[in-house]
Subunit: 786 residues, 2 copies
């Protein structure tokens, strides 16, 4: 295997680079080099095509279903990036000729992907080629692409065919009806397509400018049309040493865009052309500058810095922040973050518990206005959750394991092949991985605690809390023998255990959900608020409270063993066989155990896919002692294969919580490798968005020690040995802070000193402090960090 070159190279911790071309690893780089802005995501497929490439452009929220038997997914829009380049009549691509120099890099600071090459063709001619592109953070509809080609030895005939190509699919599923293909004013092309089921109109518009040595050329490119495709071909004889440049500005608009909602396809096409003509006035360079400024503004506000002995840590956290921007539809609360964001077909753009538990915290504590959108998404999908509850014979709202636009359950029924039967395995998560409903409620509460956004709670939040509590109350099963309420036949966070009873995580979270709703309802009732009256009228709160009080008192909550402090993950886990798992731990291939065991066989072994009870310790941290947390960490971790990307960051953060900083650092570094490491296929289907959120969590909530509990801010920093300093922004109750931690000292600085200042209260390592002025400095030396 060729070395995974270049990925760890850095330019001051801002640049991820690929220093050699290897067609086996296209998908890896397509994902990690993805560009986007939350509105759309563009995979980094090369300009020239290679077999196995995944040439994707996704637009947030534009779900469509291909046929009734499939699940809804984000459709792959038409490609506007691919170029058919011919040099002296021969196609340019890197598996022919000699690649004398090659470097591709993603500059996180400015969101630019750049590729520079010196290439010798099979005739011995030398060409310098440079490609750049960006997906604008300034204008979310805009993509820019620049190609520069310089023949170095002799004059050359250069031909570039630029297309809008709607022949692409999602692994064969075609989501679009072909619409108009047009050429306007010689150099602008437009292609319209409409999703088959949801009727969303996609308008792709592409404008070109040809330059020689920087001077615009009047060009008359040859137009051509194929099925679902419209192209322009530029041909030019270029003298040796001169540079031919093709600048492209492309725009993407859909009828789902809030600003175009009332337009029909024809007017949307006009608006898109008008928009692109305006954008063209600044040209490629001007638009790139605007985009660069937007990224600069983002980093100025949001940058996290650390002095680490391993410079990779700094790159990894920036890489995470970069991808958090890409994955999140900050512009529109109708959509949320998919498990692969907008970077690949994996998980079909569906939204999981990943959002609330792994991604939402980043936004809560850095960009609460975006966090508001994410929790509002769950209100937009509340009716879907109600209908899922009804369909399953329950009350209230049962959130879907996989969510898209409506909140209906979107989990596919069939998954990978079962090695025993030769048939696809049935996917149970959509039916029985039910903890998602409590996770959604927790996200709502978490947001409220960090922001005190009462308007959100009044309008959306309480209703979600009450409806989810209602679901749980109807879900509980009375066990006569034990005189308790049980929850059987579920999947907990650990997905290697299907059909278990009393998964500790699920039972505790259900209990938390019901009791939290009870507390809120009482408070609202006592205040005799309009909100209470409205919700009581709509939902009948009074009757519910009684049921909740009765049932919640009898929910079975598995307690730590008095001696070992181990909490059973479920009723039978601790009784199962213990086997030697070393063959499957720390393996390049995820889920390699499934090559040897079927899912049914896994049920009989003490083996976990991912953190289960540890996530509970994170969410409800004050309900468990540090001793219990440590004991369970050390019991369950050796049985965990970390076959989910949600596992390592949780283990890191919990290791921080139990003062195992070096273990925490080891797990943090492993978590950073999930997408950015040397496993060249782990990211093929897209970035692991929960893992990306987890990198931030392990760094800022783990080492940086940021937590909140019932509205109180806590800071318990615990830097690993390798870090000298950590500085991060922190949003809290409408204030913007910057926290800087060294081994010696902790500084908390107010970033908006002109705003009306109220004192900010917090506890630091258990001691209460108040930030009254602009800055609070605390010595950490010799303190009790326990």
């Amino acid at each position: 295997m060729i070395a995974y070159t270049g990925l760890n190279e850095q330019s001051h911790g801002w640049v991820v680079a690929e220093s050699a071309f290897d067609a086996r690893y296209l998908a890896k780089y397509e994902t990690i080099f993805c560009q986007g802005n939350g509105y759309m995501g563009l995979r980094a497929a090369h300009e020239e095509s290679y077999p196995g490439e995944r040439r994707n452009l996704f637009v947030a929220g534009t779900y469509n279903r291909f046929g009734v038997q499939e699940v809804t997914e984000l459709p792959n829009a038409a490609d506007m990036i691919q170029l058919d380049i011919r040099l002296n009549g021969r196609p340019f691509h890197l598996e022919k000729g000699k690649l004398l120099q090659y470097r591709r890099e993603l500059d996180l600071r400015k969101g630019e992907l750049k590729r520079e090459m010196l290439w010798e063709d099979e005739q011995g001619e030398w060409f310098k080629l440079s490609f750049r592109r960006f997906v604008s953070l300034y204008d979310r509809h805009l993509i820019g692409q620049r190609v520069e080609i310089t023949p170095l030895k002799h004059d050359a005939d250069i031909s570039i065919r630029s297309s809008i190509n709607g022949q692409l699919t999602n692994s064969g599923a075609q989501h679009f009806i072909e619409g108009d293909r047009r050429v306007f004013d010689k150099e602008l092309i437009q292609y319209t397509a409409t999703t088959t089921e949801t009727g969303i109109v996609f308008v792709h518009t592409l404008a070109h400018q040809l330059l020689e040595n920087g001077v615009r050329i009047e060009a008359a490119p040859a137009p051509s049309m194929e099925r679902r495709k419209v192209s322009l071909t530029y041909k030019r004889k270029v003298a040796a040493g001169k540079t031919l440049t093709l600048d492209k500005l492309a725009s993407m608009h859909t009828s789902l865009d809030l600003e175009w909602e009332s337009l029909d396809a024809l007017h949307l096409q006009q608006a898109a052309r008008h928009h692109l003509r305006k954008a063209e006035e600044l040209g490629y360079c001007g638009q790139f500058r605007k985009h660069e400024e937007a990224w600069q503004a983002f980093w100025n506000e949001s940058s996290i810095e650390m002095d680490s002995q391993d410079a990779f840590d700094q790159l990894a956290i920036r890489f995470a922040q970069y991808h958090l921007v890409l994955m999140t539809p900050a512009h529109d609360s109708r959509f949320s973050v998919g498990a692969k964001g907008l970077t690949g077909e994996g998980y079909k753009g569906h939204v999981f518990w990943d959002t609330e538990v792994f991604i939402l915290p980043y936004f809560l504590y850095t960009h609460p206005e975006i966090a508001r959108n994410l929790v509002t998404y769950r209100y937009h999908t509340l009716n879907g959750a109600r209908s899922k509850a009804r369909d399953n014979g329950y009350e209230g709202a049962m959130y879907p394991w996989e969510s898209a636009l409506t909140g209906e359950e979107e989990t596919p029924e069939w998954g990978p092949v079962d090695i025993v039967t030769g048939t696809p395995t049935y996917i149970w998560t959509g039916k029985i991985e039910q903890h998602i409903t409590a996770d959604v409620a927790y996200g709502v509460w978490h947001y409220y605690q960090a922001t005190s956004d009462q308007a959100y709670m009044d309008q959306y939040g309480y209703e979600i809390l009450f409806e989810t509590a209602t679901f749980w109350a109807s879900r509980l099963e009375w066990n006569d023998e034990k005189g308790q309420y049980h929850i059987t036949d579920v999947i907990g966070p650990d997905e290697y255990k299907e059909h278990v009873a009393n998964n500790a995580f699920t039972n505790y979270m259900a209990y938390w959900n019901i009791t939290k709703a009870m507390a809120c309802m009482k408070q609202l009732r006592e205040a005799d608020s309009q909100v209470y009256q409205r919700l009581n009228e709509k939902l009948g709160l009074a009757e519910r409270l009684k049921v909740w009080e009765e049932k919640s008192a009898l929910i079975y909550l598995p307690k730590p063993d008095e001696t070992t402090k181990i909490i059973p993950q479920d009723d039978t886990y601790l009784m199962k066989q213990v086997i030697d798992l070393s063959k499957y731990r720390n393996q390049e291939q995820v889920a390699s155990i499934l090559n040897d065991y079927s899912m049914t066989q896994l049920s009989d072994i003490q083996v976990s896919k991912q953190a289960d009870i540890l996530v509970l310790f994170y969410l409800l941290e004050d309900w468990f002692t540090k001793e219990t947390k440590a004991a369970n960490w050390h019991y369950y971790e050796p049985k965990t294969l970390h076959d989910s990307s949600l596992s390592l960051s949780t283990h890191s953060m919990l290791a921080s919580d139990v003062a195992e900083s070096e273990l925490a650092y080891e797990m943090f570094q492993k978590a950073c490798q999930i997408d950015l490491g040397t496993n060249m296929h782990s990211s093929d289907e897209g970035i692991h968005t929960a893992s990306i959120g987890g990198i931030w969590k392990a760094a800022v909530m783990g080492f940086g020690g940021v937590r909140s509990w019932e509205g109180a801010l806590r800071l318990n920093p615990r830097l690993p040995e390798a870090w000298e300093r950590l500085s991060y922004p922190l949003a809290w109750q409408g204030e913007r802070l910057r926290v800087t931690i060294t081994k010696q000292e902790m500084k908390i600085e107010r970033l908006n000193p002109d705003s009306v200042q109220k004192p900010i209260r917090m506890t630091i390592h258990g001691k209460a402090y108040e930030l009254v002025d602009q800055m609070l400095s605390i010595s950490l030396e010799g303190g009790d960090l326990a």
Copy 2:
């Protein structure tokens, strides 16, 4: 441009070869090396994938429409040929490493495609690789594929992933709903998919056998499933010098197959597995032998041989016969021959006049039982033609310009980009290229004349004749000024002239159609046959005859000018501008004139896309004098760009008719180059089936002189200078003959001498002869060949 190597190489005139690999020309070879059996057609995409490949497998008649705005087409079935081969972990493909030896060849004699290579990988390892495949002529559902890999220097880890891949589309249009994916007994995989609109179930089944040095190995390939895809991966360490062989037998069944019509998907899957298990008993080699024997039987009966100074001629005629087998669904009269057969997406599998005028004659005169299917197809689609007539305000049957399963009009509305407006051009042929209706009637009559198949006529043929005549009678427009019936606003065979009036071809053929129907009807009536009574009841014949008699007498039939003998192609052609066309004639790029002129502009120039009036001279040869034919040939040919593949063979045959044998030979050789020549992109979208039929026509009907006129056989051979001898089979009125022509002599031999013999009458160069015994020999020396 790399030389078009190898294509003209021959192994005794049976082998078409490619002696160098060039990824630019994938599509060319995929088409000409296509394999099939009339049931299915498999494009010759390589085992390993390359960008731009078109990996197609089409099954005759399985039309489906993607969305209401598109036209119906033959959907691309799942691929069972592609192999992901890794040698020591690195993917095998020919753009990496060094290709030390390469040869791919299609052996027409046995329908085998073989590729043999010596390849040095980037590490300097040498591998011998051999790939063979066939689409069985013995079992039309079966495909065989064999891979042999030999590491030559050192032991090697070889991995081969074999898949059924349903992710493919028709240029982006997905015609299938995904169905079951299964693995059976470790080495058999099955994938089912159903067409979205027509609900045709496709069952793909694939069985494997692994061998080392010819000995079967118990293998446990790793199964895997993706969306629309199921795979097995074989891994093996192979010692240097040993050969690893993977044999694959694949089967294709659909619910449209007559033998499975009543089965549901589940039973069809079972039947397919049973069928493939049976096939496996013979193994790859045994199945290949059966297939080879079937081809041998075909060639024994059908071979056309010639002694030519240019050995390419012999190869070209065999290539034509090979492809005539592939393109023709001889097994099922519900289907006919598409304009690209089963070799590509071009023309979407639709059936044109090409079938009656360019392909049917081959079958009429060699395999009349297949010709019967082709003319019966038009009866199956008669109701569609009736409905087209009704929709257009006419009576009777108006056949569609493009026909699929039902006979409804299938012509798409929009075509290539108009260079003036930047919009797609409107395609008028479906509305106004109406001569097809007379062409269909002519096909029926032609079949009847060559076979005397009265049962066909009684059951199907007369009804088609009467309904088409009825269409024409209702189509005629009375011109008061001239006191004639005109036909305005049509396209004749020459498609560079749209919206013309009184296209000579159309008017004459309409006249022929009506008068032929009149003659038949009178004859039936006089015989007072049951057929007359049945059709009279159904169609009301009596009233029709009167209308036909009145109108046909007044149809305007443009006559040759008394001096020049030129017949005007339409009312205005001869008045249009004459321009210098040399820039556009004999060009590699077809239709290059459309780069400079829009279709509207072409209307004002004396320029033709293809033979127009010459086709009329061929169909109604006795209605025009040799002088008229010659004058028009020489007038129109210089204005013809031969931008349709139907043009050259017609010109060749007509040149033979007017005794211009050398011109005929020149045109014949050009016609053979349409698919087999050095234009490396002319065949990208599929083989030119009409041109393939035209090669046979130019050879056997042109040089071989075979014609019939009103039931009388004519033989007017006229060999070109380059040919010493021509021998061809000839079917006539139930008899099978072989005709052998030299410069000196002509021999006509009966091939089924044991059958009841009636004398076979014919005219040879205008003189009457009778074949009474087994053989008739005629001296051609010194005879008047005029």
